[in-house]
Symmetry: C2
C-alpha cells in the first residue's frame, strides 16, 4: 500500500513517524496532510533513506540539481557535488545526468545518497533515442514509459514528468506569442514529439500507466511545468496557466489513485507576480505541494542567479511554496562546479529559512534568537557555530583580526554593543 492508502486506513507509517520527529509535528497531523494530498513523503520503496516530507506545515525544503552533461562527464565530480550539496543543507538532490552511462551514474548516486533522489527520465529517453539512431520525435510511447519504469525500479524517489504539455496548451502559447517560447528541456522534447506525430502527449494520454508505475514504488510524481516562462516578460501567460490547470486535474486523479504528487512551477517571474503564482497553484491544484524553480526575479544577472533565485524563492516560500529548486551562479552559462553547488545550496537555504520564519514554521526563529544573544554577548565562537556556514564566518573573521577581540574590524571601539555594554 502507498503512503496515501495507509493514511486513508488510519495507519501511521514508519515514514510518517520519522518525519514527525524531524519536523516536530504530531504524526497524526502528518497522516492527515498526506491523505489529503497537501504534503508528500519522498521515498521510493526500494531506497533506504530518511524520508523527507514536503508540503503544508513543514519546513520549506530545497533541492540541488547535480549530474553529468554531454560536455562535462565525470562521475567522481558529481559524487563530490552530492556530498557538498547535502553537507551544505540540501534536503534532496536531482540527478539530471545527460553524459556518459547515465544508468550507472544514477544507480551510484542513488546508492551514495542519504537524501531523496529525483530524476527527469525524459532526458534519458532522448539520449537512448540517439543511441538507437533515432530522433526523440520518432520514439514510440512504449520507449518513454520503459525508461520511467527503469528509474522507478532503481529506487528514484521522485520523477519529473511533463504531463501538462498538451496540444491545447501548446496552441495557447503559440496564439498568444512569447519571447522565449519553451525553455524546459522536457517540455521542449514533448512539444516536438506532439508536433511531429500530430498526436497527444503520451504522458498525458497514458497518465494511468504513469500512475501505476508511481504507485508500485510509492514514487512521488512531480508534475513538470514544461511551459514555464523563460523570461519575466513571458511569466503567468495563458499557456503557463493552462498547463497549471491541467496539472491540477492530473494531481487530483493521482490522489484518487493513491499516488503522491507535487506540482512544479516557474521559473522567471517578476516579484509582483510571485504571490499570485503561489495562490493560483494552491487553488487550481487543491493544495498540492508546490515545487518552484527559483523563481528568478530578473533575467539580467547570469553569474549571480543564485541571488536572483534566493530573492524569488524567499518570496515564494513566504507565500506558501513548499519546495525550492536551487539555482547556482553558473545557471545560463555552464554546468555548475562543486563550489557553485555549495553557493547555490546556501543561497537557497537562506531563502527557505527566511520564508519559514515569515510563514511561522514552528521553531524557525530559534536559531536567529540564539545568534542575536551571541552577538549581544560578543561571543564570537558561538556566532561562528550558529552561522549557516561556520567555515566561512571563521575564515572571514580570521582574515581580519581586530585589536580588541570583543569586536570586529568594521566598527572597532565604536561597536554599538561595546558602547552600550553587552549584557
Amino acid at each position: 500500500m502507498s503512503q496515501i492508502e495507509q493514511a486513508r486506513k488510519k495507519i501511521i507509517t514508519n515514514q510518517m513517524k520519522i518525519v514527525a520527529l524531524s519536523e516536530g509535528v504530531e504524526s497524526s497531523a502528518i497522516r492527515s496532510v498526506i491523505m489529503n494530498g497537501s504534503a508528500v513523503i519522498t521515498r521510493n520503496k526500494r531506497h533506504s533513506i530518511e524520508p523527507v516530507a514536503i508540503g503544508k506545515g513543514f519546513r520549506t525544503k530545497i533541492n540541488a540539481n547535480i549530474g553529468t552533461s554531454q560536455d562535462k562527464c565525470n562521475l567522481k565530480e558529481e559524487i563530490k557535488k552530492l556530498k557538498v550539496a547535502v553537507s551544505a543543507g540540501a534536503d534532496t538532490v536531482m540527478d539530471l545526468s545527460t553524459g556518459g552511462d547515465v544508468d550507472s551514474i544514477r544507480r551510484t548516486i542513488i546508492s551514495e545518497s542519504h537524501v531523496p533522489v529525483g530524476t527527469v527520465p525524459l532526458y534519458q529517453v532522448a539520449l537512448d533515442a540517439v543511441k538507437k539512431g533515432k530522433s526523440f520525435v520518432e520514439l514510440e510511447r512504449e520507449e518513454i514509459f520503459e525508461v520511467i519504469e527503469r528509474h522507478a525500479e532503481d529506487g528514484v524517489d521522485f520523477v519529473t514528468v511533463h504531463c501538462g504539455v498538451t496540444r491545447g496548451s501548446l496552441e495557447r502559447i503559440k496564439r498568444e506569442g512569447r519571447i522565449m517560447g519553451i525553455v524546459s528541456r522536457g517540455g521542449a522534447l514533448i512539444a516536438e514529439w506532439i508536433n511531429y506525430n500530430r498526436a497527444e502527449n503520451p504522458l498525458f494520454e497514458n497518465y494511468d500507466r504513469l500512475l501505476r508505475i508511481a504507485k508500485d514504488f510509492d514514487m512521488v510524481l512531480s508534475l513538470g511545468d514544461g511551459l514555464r516562462p523563460g523570461c519575466l516578460a513571458d511569466a503567468t501567460d495563458r499557456g503557463q496557466v493552462e498547463e497549471l490547470i491541467i496539472l491540477g486535474e492530473l494531481a487530483q486523479r493521482a490522489l484518487d489513485e493513491g499516488v503522491q504528487v507535487m506540482i512544479e512551477g516557474p521559473g522567471h517571474v517578476p516579484i509582483n507576480q510571485i504571490e499570485a503564482n503561489i495562490l493560483l497553484e494552491k487553488r487550481l491544484c487543491h493544495g498540492a505541494p508546490f515545487y518552484v524553480l527559483g523563481p528568478l526575479v530578473t533575467d539580467i544577472a547570469p553569474g549571480y542567479d543564485h541571488i536572483t533565485s534566493a530573492i524569488g524563492g524567499a518570496i515564494a516560500g513566504a507565500a506558501g511554496a513548499d519546495f525550492l529548486c536551487y539555482v547556482t551562479p553558473s545557471e545560463h552559462l555552464r554546468l555548475p562546479t562543486a563550489e557553485d553547488v555549495k553557493e547555490g545550496v546556501i543561497a537557497s537555504k537562506i531563502a527557505a529559512h527566511a520564508a519559514d520564519i515569515a510563514k511561522g514554521v514552528k521553531g524557525a526563529l530559534n536559531r536567529d534568537m540564539d545568534m542575536a544573544r551571541a552577538r549581544k554577548a560578543l561571543n564570537w565562537d558561538e556566532q561562528i557555530r550558529l552561522s549557516i556556514d561556520p567555515g566561512r564566518s571563521k575564515a572571514y573573521r580570521e582574515s581580519s583580526p581586530p585589536t580588541d577581540k570583543d569586536v570586529c574590524t568594521m566598527c572597532g571601539s565604536l561597536c554599538a554593543i561595546k558602547v552600550t555594554g553587552s549584557e
Copy 2:
C-alpha cells in the same frame, strides 16, 4: 535658495533637468516631488557631481559604504573601493571612515567621487573626543555641531543624523525589552550621551541649528534610525516605531524650512514585516524617501549577508523603499575588502532592479527583454554584453567551453531553445 525653495517658486533647476534626463521623467514632475518632499536631489552646493534623485517615481538607488576603520586604515584601498563600487553600479557612496586622518580621507573621497557622498559625522565626533582626551558623553553640544558644519563645508551631499533617539524613545526600548538593544553606532553614542548627561539629544533639541546648516549647503538630511532592530526578534517594536514617529515630525519641520530630508530604516526584519515597515514609514513621514539598510531577513547568515539583504531589499523596494544601503558578505565579521564591495553592490543592484520591475518604473523591464531575445537567438556575445557583470558571465562561459558553440555545457544538445529552434 535650496532645491525645495526654488521648486516652490516654480523654478526648474539645472539639477532637476539633469535628473529628468537620467530618469526619463518630465522635469515638471520632478519639481513637484521635490516640492512636496517625496523625493530628494542629493548634491551639496559645493560638490560638482551629477545630481542623483531618490524618491517617488525614480529608479531605486543603492548606496555603498566605504571608509577606513581603526584596525584597517589604508586610503588607497578605500579609493579602490570607491572605484569598484561606482563601476559595479553604486548610485552613491558613504564614507564611514573611523581610522586615520578622517578629515583628509573624507576630502579625498569627495574630490575623487563622481557620485554623491554621504557621511555620519557622529563617528568623527567620537574620534575627536578621544583626541581631546574626553569621552563622547563629556562633549558639549557645540562640539557635535562643529563637526557637522565641517562635513557640510567639505561638500558632503547627505549626512546621517540620529535625531530620533530621545529620552522618550529610549525609555520605550527599555520598558519593552530587547534582545540586542541598540546596534546603530550613532544611536548607541547618542543614547550614552543622553544617559550620562540626563539631557535631551542635542540633535533633537537643537534641530533648528541642523536645519540651518543643511539649508546653507542644500545638504540632504538622512534622519538615522538609531534604534533600528539588530535582530529579527527586535523588529518593529515600540522603540523603533516611536523613533519613526519622531522622524516623521522632524521631516515635516525640515520640509517647512526648505530642507531636503530622507528617513533611514531597518535593519533586521522578517519578510512578513517588511511591507508593513514601508507602509508605516510612508504614512508616518508623509511620503519622505525611505532609505533602508538591508533589510536582512535572517540573522544566521554572516558571510552571506549580501544575499539576506538582497532578499529584504528587493521586497522593500518593491513595496516602495526608495534607496537601499548595500550589505557586503563581510557584514558582522570584518571591514569589507574591495571584492566584498563589488559583491555587495551587485547583490544590491539586483535587488533594486527587480524591485523597479515590480513597482513598474518606466523602462525597467527593457534590458530583461533584450536579454530574453538574446537567449532565444542563442546570441552569446549579446547575452554577455547585457549581463549585470559581463566580465563574470564571460569568465564562467569561457571556463567551460561547449562543443556546440550555440549552447552551454549544462544542457548541450538538449538545450530547449536548440530543440525547439531559435527564431
